[in-house]
């Protein structure tokens, strides 16, 4: 073990001699190179997202219409606020982390412990927030109809505001129940049934002249989705294939399925980084408490895990921009 643990800054950190290349200890330099490679991984993902977004720039979902929830404010249209809160939580946990590193430089064990604890709590809150964001996205808000060629049709009222399926669809009596594994052959089952059948939606649409539909196509002048008047809408609804509520990897009531795919993958990959960051922070936190770094004479390990934690914050800054702002 002794060969791998830096016991003092003056001793050999590199097995080849006491010259430290680039003026950094082995661990710190390798952390930087790991961060570099991880940054390139994330830019690969975000670049692929950008490619698809440019490819479908005339019909990509508008983030402001997708992420509109805020805790305890039901039915209130609150775009951006929740993700802004998440951003603040992560930035603040970055601040407490850098304060812990700073306290480590002064060999102040009590302060390092306190700030590490705050950082862990911040990371846990962020993870919980992300789970809530996912939950809202998966459950959906309004519900929509998917056409045979995969396009999504949403419903709007006379003022052009999007409305939920519940607000105009009348449920007819239906014998159709969800096929579960315990109701037939044990290895076949189907996904949860949408709350309304396609027929109910189309019939209710015909009965409500005040309701019209909206396609995914964005008008470049107003940057809003195109609304089709009620009397022309049946051309679209004759092509309808199924009712879509919420988003998953196969369909997305807000528009392009690719949007859901990239959202789940990139925020999921980032969330996994946050999770591993929290776990590493917890390990270092207990090492601080039992005095490992006090005995070692320096808190460089806190600094190294801090680098990783700030990197996670850095990635979120870009995810925030490309998924929610631009």
């Amino acid at each position: 073990m002794e060969a791998t643990i830096a016991t003092d800054n003056n001793e050999k950190n590199w097995s080849g001699g006491d010259q430290k290349p680039l003026g950094a200890s082995y661990g710190k330099m390798m952390m930087w190179f790991f961060i570099l490679s991880d940054a390139l991984t994330f830019s690969g993902f975000l670049g692929a997202y950008g490619l698809m977004r440019f490819k479908f720039h005339d019909s990509w979902p508008i983030a402001d219409e997708v992420f509109t929830h805020f805790p305890f404010l039901h039915g209130v249209h609150a775009p951006m606020y929740y993700v802004a809160l998440m951003t603040f939580i992560l930035i603040f946990s970055s601040v407490t982390m850098v304060l812990a590193v700073d306290a480590g430089h002064q060999m102040n064990k009590a302060k390092v412990t306190f700030y590490m604890l705050l950082t862990i709590i911040g990371g846990a809150i962020f993870l919980g927030s992300q789970a809530w964001e996912w939950k809202n996205f998966i459950n959906g808000t309004y519900g929509a109809v998917k056409l045979n060629d995969g396009k999504i049709i949403q419903f709007v009222d006379a003022t052009g505001e999007q409305i939920t399926l519940e607000s105009f669809v009348k449920s007819q009596h239906s014998e159709r129940t969800q096929h579960m594994a315990n109701k037939g052959i044990w290895f076949t089952k189907e996904a949860e049934l949408p709350p309304f059948t396609l027929n109910e939606v189309v019939e209710s649409f015909k009965a409500n002249p005040g309701v019209s539909i909206r396609t995914e196509l964005i008008n470049p002048e107003t940057k809003a989705k195109t609304i089709i008047p009620h009397n022309e809408a049946m051309g679209f609804l004759n092509e309808a294939k199924s009712v879509v509520v919420g988003a998953n990897l196969r369909e997305n009531e807000y528009g392009k399925t690719l949007f859901a795919n990239f959202f789940f993958f990139i925020t999921g990959f980032h969330g996994f980084h946050v999770l591993s960051g929290v776990i590493i922070n917890i390990i270092i936190f207990f090492n601080v408490i039992i005095g490992t770094y006090e005995r070692r004479g320096h808190y460089e390990m806190v600094e190294k895990v801090g680098l990783y934690w700030h990197f996670v914050d850095l990635v979120w800054v870009f995810v925030f921009t490309f998924f929610y702002l631009v």
């Binding site: 800054n9 680039l22 003026g23 950094a24 930087w32 190179f33 570099l36 940054a39 390139l40 830019s43 690969g44 670049g47 692929a48 950008g50 490619l51 977004r53 440019f54 490819k55 720039h57 005339d58 402001d64 775009p79 951006m80 606020y81 802004a84 951003t87 603040f88 930035i91 603040f92 970055s94 601040v95 982390m97 850098v98 304060l99 590193v101 700073d102 430089h105 002064q106 056409l147 060629d149 396609t215 196509l217 107003t222 940057k223 051309g235 004759n238 092509e239 600094e303 801090g306 680098l307 700030h310 990197f311 914050d313 850095l314 800054v317 870009f318 925030f320 921009t321 702002l325 631009v326």
Partner: protein, 117 residues
Amino acid sequence: MTHEQEHTSHTKLIWKVFAILSVITIVEVALGIIKPDALYLTKFLGTSPLNIIFLVLTLVKAYYITWFFMHMADEKKSLRRAVVWTSVFLIIYLATLLLLEGSYISDVLGPLTKWNY
């Protein structure tokens, strides 16, 4: 590593950087919610001025996080360049190629998509 530098506290600087990052985030969120027509519906350098503002503010935030939270400012020039120049070059290269390709596919396939039924 200079030891005198390490033992002085940087608390003031940290809170200053936090204030800068918070102000930038608040400006971003405010612009994202209001979306002023003059910035959102006009075109500048191939996209809306609002998007350019968001991109610039994001890069400013990335600079502050890397330089002051990750202490890149205190590292040797050689380490800094090995990490920053490499990533900046490769990311700009990749993004340019992918986004050019994306708009090309859009130009070719966009007119073929059926929007009237």
